[in-house]
């Protein structure tokens, strides 16, 4: 009886697996991309860019990333499984470079070219890095903020986290520019919401409650920015200039509605596309520049429908 049921259970397991399974084409050039995230719209846009390049260059691309940017060990497991498939090249956005170093060395020894993307890999193993200059991008946000609030007043930040490279760069890029160029602007609070919309909303509401004279609010990634927008909407706060980061349908709508003044956008589709393109070039043995700047843009109500900007915004 036990045996019959075990067989039954096992068979159903196999059935489920085969249903979800996809045969792996061995003859095509295979390039796995291990990213820092997956379900977030930003990463899906990177994936879309990678898929676009995959079709164009006729290569097979897979895209994986951990649930959130703290799961360093899970990312290492993904990289390990990707290497086991003996790919021709690999795209990687490290959560922690040191933790990944043994596996990257393994890739180097196996002569698998590594292309870094987004926040990149802090080592000399990757041939190139396709990335946004986050410090410069956040500094642009600070300049725009200063311009919009007239060069003085209280400003607060909601940032996604205080340990990741992008979190640190965007926070410091914004804060340092304020200190250097706009001394009359006071940064009253910096809080971290994990990029979670709800958590960021609560944080932003608390900051608004504590600072009734707040002039400006910067949300350092999509989730943080939407949190700030929600908080301004829910509390009905007046006279707060909100600046966001990245895009997504909710943020675009907030800019159209006038709740958000504008935002910085990276070029996620370009990041994914350039990563795969660089990988293909590396396989062919072509020269690559040290970094591939995929660019960033300021967008607001006036230019968001222009072809140049709308091409890099995602829903």
């Amino acid at each position: 009886m036990i045996t019959r049921r075990s067989i039954l259970a096992a068979l159903s397991a196999v059935a489920i697996l085969s249903a979800g399974g996809v045969a792996h084409a061995q003859d095509k050039v295979y390039i796995p991309l291990i990213s820092k995230g997956f379900q977030h719209q930003f990463w899906q846009a990177v994936k879309a860019g990678a898929d676009k390049a995959a079709t164009e260059f006729k290569v097979e691309v897979t895209f994986e990333g951990p649930d959130n940017e703290t799961q360093v060990d899970k990312q290492i497991d993904m990289l390990s499984a990707a290497l086991a498939k003996s790919p021709q090249a690999i795209g990687f956005a490290a959560l922690d470079t040191q933790a990944a170093t043994p596996l990257l060395k393994q890739a180097q020894d196996a002569k698998i070219p590594v292309i870094a993307f987004d926040s990149g890999v802090d080592s000399d193993i990757p041939l190139t890095t396709a990335t946004t200059d986050n410090v410069a991008a956040a500094a642009l946000a600070a300049d725009k903020m200063a311009e919009l609030i007239g060069g003085k007043g209280k400003v607060a930040l909601v940032v996604h986290d205080q340990t990741s490279r992008t979190g640190i760069d965007r926070r410091d890029g914004f804060v340092n520019r304020m200190k250097e160029k706009h001394p009359d602007i006071e940064i009253v609070d910096i809080q971290y919401g994990g990029g979670d919309q709800l958590q960021s909303t609560e944080i932003a509401k608390a900051i608004l409650a504590a600072n009734s004279d707040l002039k400006g609010f910067f949300g350092a990634n999509e989730g943080s920015a939407i949190g700030v927008v929600n908080a301004v909407r829910e509390t009905g706060a007046k006279g707060v200039t909100v600046i966001g980061y990245d895009s997504g349908a909710a943020q675009k709508q907030a800019i159209k509605d006038g709740v958000m003044a504008g935002a910085i956008t990276q070029n996620p589709v370009g990041i994914g596309y350039e990563t795969v393109k660089a990988a293909v070039m590396a396989i062919k043995g072509e020269e690559l520049p040290k970094t591939i700047d995929t660019g960033f843009f300021w967008y607001d109500k006036t230019n968001m429908d222009s072809p140049e900007i709308s091409a890099v915004l995602y829903d």
Binding site: M1, S6, G20
Partner: protein
């Protein structure tokens, strides 16, 4: 009364054998399936990758198995693991003390936090779910505070990365470069299985889960033993903290949230009842391997990530359902 408790334990452990067989059969079938599906699956480097991916979750799952057998739950194991890793980082990197102190401090800190959880649950009667949920958050925050919200690297302690990534087995048998982290998992599992099946602490662990009131009435100091179980589980989390920190060569202070659910899933797949009083370490180890083999196999087959998550969820439900059906009939 003690005899009743003992015979009850015997009955319960023997009924667990079938569940282990079932789980083990599923594991074997999975291995065969993935080997056939992709030639990349059954190569040494990938098998080692699977073993390494299991070591942390496996050790955590062994620790939480003990607590679950008492009828409790421990939601703090993931962040406790991180906390002990940060403690090791403070002792080794910030204070520059020798390796042994770091190891003792991590395990000691784990046991101490387990002691606090145990005291909250046993003496202050806070429900385990709430007590350990609170501990989970306290430890997450404390890790961030102590570390200054930055990863602590172990570059000044050269031997540290060997704890998990070195291979003692590989030194003896060069064709079997099994990482030490995996060796530690099996040592921890063996020791805990011994404690559970051969010592007073083990007997009382089952007794607490099957009928705490009966155990108390028969003169067992249930509060004391419960605190012991939580402390032991905490110490085991300290071992997991050392393995993960060694593997990443750093203590990552923000990591750990969500890892408790992976550990609990491994325990449940392995046939341990969330109601308490029934369970085994062997089952938990098999459960942990089922989870990591499944995930690795799906990745090797290039299954899209959203589908990987769905399949993992289905397998967890299927495993527990199969166990329930079996138990209703016997």
């Amino acid at each position: 009364m003690t005899m009743i408790v003992q015979s009850e334990v015997k009955k319960r452990t023997s009924s667990g054998v079938h569940q282990k067989l079932l789980a083990f059969a599923s594991l074997i079938i999975m291995l065969v399936f993935f080997s056939l599906a992709s030639s990349n699956f059954l190569q040494t480097s990938n098998i080692i990758g699977i073993l390494q991916a299991t070591s942390v979750n496996g050790v955590l799952a062994v620790g939480v198995t003990l607590v679950i057998i008492t009828g409790g739950i421990d939601l703090s194991v993931g962040t406790l693991m991180t906390f002990t890793a940060v403690i090791a980082g403070v002792v080794l990197t910030y204070l520059g003390m020798p390796l042994l102190f770091g190891i003792v401090a991590a395990i000691g800190a784990g046991a101490f936090c387990g002691f606090i959880s145990g005291t909250l649950v046993a003496r202050m009667k806070v429900p385990p779910f709430i007590a350990t949920l609170g501990m989970m958050l306290i430890l997450k925050g404390t890790s961030l505070v102590i570390s200054g919200t930055k990863p602590i690297y172990f570059n000044n302690t050269p031997g540290f990365s060997q704890i998990s990534t070195g291979s003692l087995i590989g030194q003896v048998f060069p064709f079997l470069p099994i990482p030490n982290g995996v060796l530690i998992l099996f040592v921890v599992a063996t020791v805990v299985a011994f404690i559970l099946n051969r010592t007073a602490l083990g007997r009382y662990t089952f007794a607490l889960g099957s009928n705490e009131e009966a155990a108390r009435l028969s003169g067992v100091d249930t509060d004391f033993w419960k605190i012991c179980v939580y402390s032991l589980s905490g110490g085991i989390c300290g071992v997991a903290g050392l393995i993960i920190a060694s593997r990443l060569n750093s203590a990552q202070p923000a990591l750990g949230l969500g890892y408790e659910l992976d550990a609990i899933a491994a325990v449940v797949i392995g046939g341990t009842s969330l109601a308490g009083g029934r369970g085994s370490i062997l089952g938990t180890i098999i459960g942990a391997f089922i989870m990591s083999v499944l995930l690795n196999g799906l990745r090797i087959m290039s299954v899209a990530q959203e589908w990987q998550t769905i399949v993992t969820g289905l397998i967890i439900i299927l495993a527990v359902y199969a166990d329930m059906v079996r138990r209703q009939r016997t």
